[in-house]
Symmetry: C2
Subunit: 684 residues, 2 copies
């Protein structure tokens, strides 16, 4: 053990740093780009890229026409496609194409955002929290954040959204202003069989053969939105070694966490989380086999779980990798020594790591009850989500915006209502599966005799309580939700809906759990992370990019395969490969449309490809663009080695997986006969 740090420099191979980084639009790595690719994006290019990029919930997308056409992944739009499907008209299975604009279908609950403006508000926020500790610190930070975002949104709540973005774990705070598109419609989606060819077995793998694309259109005032900035399509796509950019919204990386934070993440977020996910995956896998309708209603959730599960397994692998751990410990030690060697820093910052470590111990004590109550892990059901929102809205709406829970401030209310009054169907049988399972896990995780378990279950079994709740609830009825929303606290208290009563009964305990976690963990971490961020700036300046925060980032890289032991993985696949991998059985069955079009297709057309762009979950649906700002590909996945990208960028093997732009055009033309769309894509 004691020799670890001595050996470090001898045993660790140097990681390629080329292509590393998810850069904010106001701090691009121009010098690196110039040095490595003799290219420097000009202001117009940057502006066009920012304004053509779109944020979807948990995903990315881009404008691809003047008339509001948005390209993203099929798996990013599939909740909309699933909600629009019925047992008789299954667009997930058969795909969808609107031949005319009037045929485009409104997504029940899909909001898109486009970043318009970035303002540095670091000084305002730090001033508001200066000298405060724990609960007071977090309270003051929430208050100033609410004030700033409310002022930013102003009167135009329907079309504007503003967020405070915490960069470098408190090193910088920026105010991001978005144009909000609430009316999104489905234009084109291929069959899931080709969008997700290879299914879970091939997820995060390459070679791949997926047409993971969907086209949406945003409307404003009932008409296709008038869009000034968009990306044109490249008809030839990229060459091996060509410089590519990915613009999108990577969700979250943990490259700047302390070792003690990484350990909590390993034990709770990953080890414990994966066990829970695995069991639920088993439940859903077996449930979906009971009927085609069970499969149709459960598959969207199952996909999400399988995707997160595989990603989690990959991330955990990195957190258990001795090479990685040694590097992190060495980095942390170096930064601590940098601080300790400077008396002016030591007194102020030196204790930050231990403070965060202590907060992690508290987190380990609190996380389970907090997750069950405030996190609603005990109540996995859309009904409960709706009930809680209604119960809390009744308490929050009457307060001044700045005093509300963050999710109910003025600038968020439009989004809350869109979710709450969505006509997206709820399937009672499926809700029963989820709720029974989550109640059972609550009893298991907290223990039979826990006071919260007794409060929730009484003498009922999880099955009995589920039955009682779901058979009597009226929350499937959107009108009833509106009545409760408009009726305020009185309507809530008088409602005899069992989910409303449940959400009401546990609200105090939930809020208390959340408060405890905020005061004793999050505030401590936030405050001390700010200190560590300061130290890091002093050590290396802003030549470092901030951890991903589900905000717009640009990464650069090039088309490039990788080496797996003695095997060279080539960067491109072709249409021919898709036909070679067709077994006729899901998830390796090409859809009928492909089999029918085989003779018309150029089988040598490059289909999927890989680049060494630095991306992470949330980048799904990101366009790959070239120096000219043309779309050369559509990112839909990372390879298995990219999963550790949450914690470090290993350029030796971390790869982005994309659909080739020319393959998209060829498929639209020869397989899907989407001539109108093709015309729209090629018009300026």
């Amino acid at each position: 053990m004691q020799k670890k740090f001595l050996l470090l420099s001898l045993v660790l191979p140097t990681l390629s740093l080329a292509a590393e980084g998810m850069w904010t639009m106001d701090n691009l790595p121009n010098n690196k780009l110039q040095a490595e690719y003799a290219y420097k994006p000009n202001a117009e290019w940057v502006k066009n890229t920012m304004l053509s990029s779109v944020k979807l919930p948990g995903c990315s997308g881009s404008f691809v026409s003047r008339d509001g056409l948005v390209m993203t992944n099929h798996h990013c739009a599939s909740s909309c496609i699933e909600q629009l499907s019925t047992a008789k008209q299954n667009y997930i299975e058969h795909g969808f194409l609107a031949k005319k604009r009037e045929e485009e279908l409104t997504c029940p609950a899909l909001e898109l955002n486009r970043l318009e403006e970035i303002t540095d508000v670091t000084e305002e926020i730090k001033k508001a929290t200066a000298g405060l500790e724990d609960g007071k610190f977090k309270q003051a930070q929430n208050a100033i954040s609410n004030r700033l975002t409310s002022a930013c949104v102003g009167e135009d709540k329907e079309k504007t959204r503003c967020d405070i973005v915490d960069l470098y774990h408190g090193g910088r705070y920026h105010l991001y202003k978005y144009h909000r598109y609430a009316d999104t419609r489905l234009v084109w989606a291929p069959e899931k069989a080709i969008a997700f060819f290879g299914g879970d077995p091939d997820n995060f793998n390459f070679p791949r053969y997926d047409l993971d694309i969907t086209m949406l259109r945003v409307y404003e005032d009932g008409k296709p939105a008038d869009i000034k900035y968009f990306f044109p399509f490249s008809k030839i796509g990229p060459q091996e070694g060509e410089l590519t950019f990915v613009t999108g919204h990577p969700g979250s990386t943990q490259r700047q966490l302390t070792v003690s934070q990484l350990n909590s993440l390993r034990d709770i977020g990953l080890i414990d989380g994966l066990q829970h996910m695995a069991e639920l995956r088993g439940v859903l896998t077996q449930y979906r086999k009971t009927s085609p309708e069970a499969a149709r209603t459960a598959d969207q959730m199952l996909f999400g779980i399988e995707n997160s599960y595989k990603a989690g397994v990959g991330r955990l692998k990195t957190l258990l990798d001795p090479e990685f751990i040694a590097r992190k410990e060495a980095e942390e030690l170096a930064l601590r020594q940098f601080v300790d060697a400077r008396p002016e820093l030591k007194g102020k910052i030196g204790g930050a790591w231990d403070a965060i470590n202590k907060a992690q111990e508290r987190y380990r004590q609190l996380h389970r009850i907090t997750s069950m109550t405030e996190g609603a892990a005990a109540f996995s059901s859309n009904y409960f989500r709706i009930a809680r929102t209604l119960v809390r809205a009744a308490d929050e709406k009457v307060k001044a915006s700045a005093d509300r829970l963050p999710e109910f401030t003025d600038n968020r209310l439009a989004g809350v209502q869109q979710m709450l009054f969505s006509k997206a169907p709820i399937y009672p049988e499926f809700e029963k599966i989820k709720l029974t399972h989550s109640l059972t896990k609550m009893r298991e995780d907290l223990g039979t005799d826990h006071v919260f378990v007794k409060q929730v279950l009484g003498k009922l079994s999880p099955e009995q309580l589920t039955e009682k709740l779901i058979s009597k609830t009226r929350l499937a009825d959107v009108e009833y939700r509106k009545t409760l929303w408009n009726g305020g606290k009185e309507a809530i208290v008088q409602s005899d809906d069992p989910f409303i009563k449940l959400a009401l009964a546990i609200d105090t305990e939930s809020r208390n759990a959340s408060k405890r976690m905020q005061q004793e963990v999050q505030s401590v971490v936030q405050k001390n992370s700010e200190l560590i961020a300061q130290a890091r700036f002093l050590q290396s300046g802003t030549s470092v990019y901030p951890d991903a925060t589900a905000t717009l980032r640009l990464s650069y890289g090039e088309v490039k395969g990788w080496q797996l032991g003695e095997r060279s993985i080539k960067p491109f696949t072709t249409f021919a490969g898709a036909f070679e991998h067709d077994t006729g059985t899901a998830p390796f069955a090409l859809p009928a449309s492909w089999l029918a079009a085989k003779n018309k297709l150029n089988l040598q057309q490059p289909y999927n490809f890989v680049t060494n762009n630095d991306i992470i979950g949330g980048n799904s649906g990101s366009p790959l663009i070239n120096k000219n700002g043309e779309i050369v590909g559509l990112a839909f996945d990372g390879n298995i080695h990219s999963l550790g990208g949450a914690f470090w960028f290993d350029g030796r093997s971390n790869r982005t997986i994309a659909v080739h732009s020319a393959a998209i055009l060829e498929a639209m033309d020869k397989i899907y006969n989407a001539q109108e769309l093709l015309k729209e894509l090629s018009s300026k």
Copy 2:
């Protein structure tokens, strides 16, 4: 990090060592017992204890009458009870009592063993392997083991079993000779609802209210076996603080592994293993809901998984506990320093830890394919287990005993046949669930393009292959199995049974995988563990007990509650508590027999209790006996804190959970009206 060892002595509380240890019958801790309890068992007591103790597969038991009556846990005999049940006559649900001997039901596949003799064969084995490396080492060890056990069994193969027992990880090798009882019959089992009251939620918890007992009887030559040594029942049971002994067969502890072995165990055995178990648990949980028959056929396996899962979660918790890790690292460091400081040891033993570490790296590379092939993890099905046994038997039976795979040596063949020709039912629908799932995991874990996956699946999906195999197999037919067994290699090669063909097709790859693992991992670990064991003997002699190895051990302790934060857990529960915890809904529903007998029962009768005896999985079914060799309880579980007992004994909270002897007698009398059995238990 560097300060860890300096801080160690300051921050670690001293663990209570009292009661620690699972001692072999030939090396009892007499001095400790004398010092702590002023008691020293005499030779007669030890002999009686050894010869009254019984080994069941994965469990323990004891003789309790002259006529071969055996007491164990319900959950240790439940596979027999389940195999004897049908959809119409469900003994799991309703319990079973043979009012006369003729009504006792033969268990289809349950072999019991009683230890008769222990011989030290360390010298013979070490001589046979001296100077050999890797594959040669393991080969020589197998050969001498086969020779010794064959000689030990002699001609009486039906009634004798002999095993080489590896103690102290190669520090000692003993030859254990058992009397083998192959004809075991079911005498009495209460309803599962009371045997496993509280179900999985209360498993490993206390207070508890379980009557986890079953009575079996062993027969020889068609008559109840004539037994000389057995334990009489204590009618009053134990008092708080009273000295108690547990005699039984603890399966496996890992208290003497190196840190690198603990890390492999953490990552592969536990983290990876638990994820796989959790998913299968979800599958079975959902499957059992599809029909009562599905529940009946799946519940035995589901219980096993839930039990192992919870145990695994507890064990993992210890392996992630910084206090535990620091202690293990310190212990290892101390032993290494002890070796390095002695030139005569350093050259011979100093490299052992690094060699084991290197073998662990190889293990990480090999384990997945080995587990899928040789471990048959890809083919979870009783049909496959039977097919593989038949395929291998055909190859092995023609060899000399000493050259065979260990499981086919002469002394094991009777057991192999008992399993193979058992009439235990196989449920095709349930087999499909298991096999589909395991084939799916094979594809996921090895990858779609893996050569073994392609060999097994071809172009079929896991569902299609499962259907093809199970719809055509004849292996459910015991006569067909006999034909193949007797027909030898020719019958196997000519069989068109799809499972036989599958087992045959992958046998070379499986054997190769096993061989690689033996040569490159197991042999290296075995050889170097022997060296470390030598160092440990030199450091502390045999005052240390060996890790558990599923062989007979005695542990001592006393009836004692524990402290959980500010809460004192009392050591006894009562019958009254069981009625208080009855909710009427599984798993908290008392059976009708209990409700009917409530008025007759002494509700203040102590029911379950805890002691600080050191036990582990495999001890289920062990009797607790007092100084007089009388049964005062029946161990059926450990508390949640006992799970880390795999790696260390934490006397502060590690507890054994048992049924009180007087509660057993009271229930047999007042609830089950088992007067004949009671009479038998009280006769000398």
